[in-house]
Amino acid sequence: MSGPATRSLVTLQISGGDGAARAAVTQTLLDQGIEVSARRDGGVPLDGVPDVLPAAGASAPWKPWFPVIDYTRCTNCMQCLSFCLFDVYGVSSDKKIQVQNQSNCKTDCPACSRVCPEVAIMFPKYRHGPINGEAVTADDVRREAMKVDISALLGGDIYSMLRDRSAKAKSRFSKERDDDRALKERQNCLIALKKNLDIPAEVLASLPSADEIRAKAEAVRAKTAAMLAADGETERST
């Protein structure tokens, strides 16, 4: 996203016309991406509003779909950073997880919020709670805790688990030479991801290659190691 900016703004006189007419004009302007201030003093009268006013810096419509972090719940565990393959997350200079590349986020994909063990990631335009920002209940937290336990049972390192699984599959398929079965396995895996994490099919289709995922995992690992090393140094010096 580019730096702080504002959109076009129309100040509308409250005294002009009736409420219904003002609401209709306001709605038309909002639909064009224009902010409206309804004011008693100043502003343009209702009949002075131009038919079309382009929004400042208006570009191709982008559905604002990106994760919003509830920092009262976030424990900075970095699972979202490790999980997201599209570099939406980053770390601030004070080592806090933050959303750095909103526009990299895949529209309608809430997967990172589903892996967050603290129910701290929201997508305000999502259909269901608590991902949509609804208050988090004890049941939500219990469900997430169970997910973490399952992750721990699997060994905790999802990338190494996927690598093992991939190696086993490669070895099996190289012996069996059954392309149809391999394709079916992949399709089943994608269906499970779509169903369990509500990941849109388009996102699954645009997943990075295995090499890119490996490189990303290495980068995250290196970043985490560097952070831990820096923490250790800070502790030693204090």
Binding site: R7, V36, R127, E134
Partner: protein, 114 residues
Amino acid sequence: MSGGSRIVYCHCAFAKVVPVEVKTAVLSGLADAGVEFDAVPDLCEMAARADARLKELSECGSLQIAACYPRAVKWLFAAGGAALPDQAARVWNMRVESADAIVNGIVRGEGGAA
């Protein structure tokens, strides 16, 4: 306007998660009441662009915001670099509350605190 609060209406322009009939009725209710208010196309989009207007709103003292879930709105402002001071904003949720309750709450101060 209610208790001297500044009123903000979010049009949630890019999604259908806020029922159209509710947001239309809230907008009409505010326009009918003749109160001053600020209508924005989409708070999410403003947060993504770190719109300078968010900062202006967060610093205005007292706010009444007709949008969606209060937890989402609070952290959207924070994501846009404009943290809302505690207790400074009353967020009305157009996803679950009725338009009447919201308009009466904003204009006439009915419905208590968030």
